[in-house]
Symmetry: D2
Subunit: 362 residues, 4 copies
Amino acid sequence: MKKIRAGLIGATGMVGQNYLRLLKEHPWFQVTYVAASPRSAGKKYSEAVAGRWIMDEEIPEEVADLIVGDANDVEEAKAKCDFVFSAVEMEKQAVRELEEKYAANDIPVVSNNSAHRHTEDVPMLIPEINAHHTDIIPYQQKNRGWNKGFIVVKPNCSLQSYLTPVYALIKAGYPVESLVITTLQAVSGAGYPGPASINMIDNIIPFIPGEEGKTEREPLKILGSIKNGKFVYYDALRISAHCNRVPIIDGHTACVSLKFRSAPPSLDEIIAIWNEFRAEPQELNLPSAPQPPIVYRDEEDRPQPRKDRNVGKGMAVTVGRLRECPVMDIRFVALSHNTIRGAAGGAILSAELLKAKGYLAR
Amino acid sequence: MKKIRAGLIGATGMVGQNYLRLLKEHPWFQVTYVAASPRSAGKKYSEAVAGRWIMDEEIPEEVADLIVGDANDVEEAKAKCDFVFSAVEMEKQAVRELEEKYAANDIPVVSNNSAHRHTEDVPMLIPEINAHHTDIIPYQQKNRGWNKGFIVVKPNCSLQSYLTPVYALIKAGYPVESLVITTLQAVSGAGYPGPASINMIDNIIPFIPGEEGKTEREPLKILGSIKNGKFVYYDALRISAHCNRVPIIDGHTACVSLKFRSAPPSLDEIIAIWNEFRAEPQELNLPSAPQPPIVYRDEEDRPQPRKDRNVGKGMAVTVGRLRECPVMDIRFVALSHNTIRGAAGGAILSAELLKAKGYLAR
Amino acid sequence: MKKIRAGLIGATGMVGQNYLRLLKEHPWFQVTYVAASPRSAGKKYSEAVAGRWIMDEEIPEEVADLIVGDANDVEEAKAKCDFVFSAVEMEKQAVRELEEKYAANDIPVVSNNSAHRHTEDVPMLIPEINAHHTDIIPYQQKNRGWNKGFIVVKPNCSLQSYLTPVYALIKAGYPVESLVITTLQAVSGAGYPGPASINMIDNIIPFIPGEEGKTEREPLKILGSIKNGKFVYYDALRISAHCNRVPIIDGHTACVSLKFRSAPPSLDEIIAIWNEFRAEPQELNLPSAPQPPIVYRDEEDRPQPRKDRNVGKGMAVTVGRLRECPVMDIRFVALSHNTIRGAAGGAILSAELLKAKGYLAR
Amino acid sequence: MKKIRAGLIGATGMVGQNYLRLLKEHPWFQVTYVAASPRSAGKKYSEAVAGRWIMDEEIPEEVADLIVGDANDVEEAKAKCDFVFSAVEMEKQAVRELEEKYAANDIPVVSNNSAHRHTEDVPMLIPEINAHHTDIIPYQQKNRGWNKGFIVVKPNCSLQSYLTPVYALIKAGYPVESLVITTLQAVSGAGYPGPASINMIDNIIPFIPGEEGKTEREPLKILGSIKNGKFVYYDALRISAHCNRVPIIDGHTACVSLKFRSAPPSLDEIIAIWNEFRAEPQELNLPSAPQPPIVYRDEEDRPQPRKDRNVGKGMAVTVGRLRECPVMDIRFVALSHNTIRGAAGGAILSAELLKAKGYLAR
């Protein structure tokens, strides 16, 4: 099988670097094109990121020598790749327009950016939860007069630790009424340079701009349904999120209290539901799909970021400390890797899903 | 005025060291006696803690040369001090018996230990909340046939960040139905040596043994009332606590969601209640009483441990980020210094209250 | 005594904030004027630094309401203060010219900036070492045709941990031939925001731009002499510095190996030299002079940044671990507080020295 | 090829755990036996380390069910394995005797423990430097009347960052006269639990018990030669080491100043020597041999622990910042992974060397 040619726009930033790291030796996709701002265009990728490559691993050889394109030059992208990952960092309106321009030019876009997350015909995918939301793509193309191109996005990293375990319960027949969540989020979630070390040594910051709103609202679209070619948000779940920045590199932890709409299952039943949970990515055996997607740990002091963030190559969610909640029904701790599952890795899994469903091809 | 002679049993441990640090140059109390295990007895204090003094400040000169007594030797304590602070670390039953032995021998005990926290005639004091719980002391003495001696205790450090602000609301006429709390607690709360650094670099631990139970149960006694010489727990409040250990030195932070029993006050009204809150320690102008006891910060990213833990010399509670809660009624972040307010400092304030009320004298 | 009116140019940056914190309630100086870039000019100081005040303490009340001046407007400074501290952060040439403009306008300048450190008639002061270098001021004024104005500077923070102990040995009659130094420097030394937390969690950075050169060259001027109105650098000492950034807030540590020019004193003699060392700031009893200036600790694991940086209100140097060196003669560890002794505090001490010597007056 | 059966004594401690992690799927060795104290003996390994397994990865499946033996029971070891790795933590004399008992019973011992490091007929191996020191084994066996058994040890972790680069220079014909070294060592080097987090947040400790002596003395044996069946220490090199504990998980960094015995090579020549350095492990293509063993980085801020410790699967040494030294001849920074190269990984490489040379067989 010939690999599908992947482009990456916004290739020089931290999210872009993560894409390149994770796409190294990908079985289905090959990065054949990288683009960034006009300032970087024309340089070799290794030169364009000189002094700015912040991954612990080295620049993958296969991209070091690629000549960086201008992200605004859709024609070049069209010539060099079959679809693009978007990791651009710009004003929202500019991102929206740029991603639409790619789609309009027959280039599917799988985006990390938040600009299109609440666009009514753009799916926001967590493939284990709403793989069927890709069904909106034909409507999206029709609405906009696009041919092969389309846009899909991934949600914010802060909700990926807890939403899959919560969804597993809903799917098993236990609808959830409300969630009170406190997150302890890693500094890598803030991009580069992110928080100053002087603020993160012997300190935490109990606030992340914009994060609580995203954490509370995005799940309602992800759990929503498609009606008449548009997304209808799930309206039966209320979420309250307290988001904190803590001094760890990678791994977002969420302490969750949860109230069901009716009688709650037993704790044992819940653990069984999580352990047995499988979804389309697992069934399709997508290359980046964690097997299993949810790992429940019995130890009383897990999950912990450093020990559990890399489970399933950083794509699984680890859950622990399930117990009854004196105020709501149950409570637990959930953890996922924010720069893998919560960012580039999640988007790559979405692209794999799209490929498996026939939306991406060489 | 001649200073009251304070003894300190359990003087060599971390909590004991904190007492000595905080009692340095105290206007009412002078440390005239320190006691520890038989192993340390007979040595100068500075020798007994050689290599184990972990405070950032030096050993106060006035105690460095005190000869350490045997904590089991009540006669010596009786000869050398008017009351004792208890910072002993032993099995619960042994602590109970030891503290009772002191009380039975006319030595009032102000204890940090958890052993007597739920004893039915022992008050667990946060002087801003339940200064009137000292009224049980005569019953306690009568029940047990004690003369001048008695026992009072302080609660766990984990609840001191949020309970005073919550109490301020109750006192203002807004009874609270339930709280969902997530704490981010400093390593100093675990005593010495506490968590290994290898577990606290690039990591958090979402579990602290025994802490959630204390955080949920102790407030009900503190908010309770005295009936027939015994404490009746407050039964109208449910608390759910998730307790996390995070890599900071000092300062426990709590993210709180709160539901009132009836219509909630406005956010502005709540801030006014907190800003105006004063209690007996402030009215009595006790030396360690923070003025004011609750500090509300308007900035969206406060309180922060390093910036706010020392407010009011580590005795005030700092609150911030008050906002509506989509699931309960309101939510906010509260912070207090765990080794000052939450430990030795809180106990010293209790002793000051006892002195002001005539329970302690030279 | 009426206080001398101090101005502060570059008042909104991190170093400027440190000045304000340390000058709070200063017995000799009162901050009557703050200046910054035109962008801040005209605002109240508290407004100008809103969201940028990063000290753990609050903005001192006495400066919060001062109206920020334009640092380029020397006339306003002249009207409002008797001398200025310079904490400006600009291109070197621009700093040189600005500071000279103040001096030319009768406003003495005590500067943190490195721009004039190697100017041949500008003294670089560590008051315990080269208080007599102020003798160049009349030459400086004459050379440049200045009347009351002049410029003095303080050296880099990285050398202040070890240079005073080394100087104490030289002064005691033991000239030093060479030093091999490795520093472990705090993140606050990099200004704000300084190193990204993502680079300082579970990591160190073995390089600080420009720091090794400063650490090796500046001591030679500080130890130098005045000849014909110019500084002649000390040429008999060679220094090799390895400078590392480590994840601590405050406190620069130096591991030093030292070779004397002739037979070395005994270790006991060296400790005695350090313990007995006093210099002009101590003799003049300057308000910020640490008493004593050098503290030797016997414990085998000291000095440590968190425990020793605040000794002498952050103005003393703490030394420990003196032992023989198998390659050079002796070795030891030295520590000082980089944002107090090494920055604003050191400059304030210099200003106190200048006042005591009659160079500053109301 | 049938795998050689490896035993592990001291299997439950932190070093033992690292062995198991690194021996997982080893191409030549299979862990068939684990032993520990009598307290653990008789339990399944997974039970024996329950609550004490501190690796980030899980217990390898192939050892989880092994029944732990009593480390004192040599007969059981003899029945179950062909040689042992020793990771025991006991008094030196007890370790010496235990390891000798294994050797006397035909069980070769590859030890992490320091007890036999200076035994005159026991080789202390860094396979890239002194692979030929295995030639002493026949003398050792003859001296002691052993048949197939023998003892080899690995040196301390603190010297493995810099000794291979220094040796590469010596081997290339540039003998070294002296080294002044300052190390910044990770907390994992202290074993478990190691330093308390309260001492390692916002702090460093400029002292590690016993470490400087090991760092200064062990290299002289490693660089030494065999004369009459005994080791003669290299006497032409003087080393001064300052050892610091810093708050990082893994990776020891050394800042090195070096003086040659005669005219130094150029910096370019040194880099070429390092880049081209290969030794017996590389020539024999041992499974754990890093290819190449020394990596020189051109960036001015490398090596850094988090970015460089895993190079060559944690077995390579990364060097950077080579520059002239104003006091000695040259200086540079070197880094290696202390729990891989510096501990279990280094010992595994030694065992591979022994196997390749015919000293270990099934």
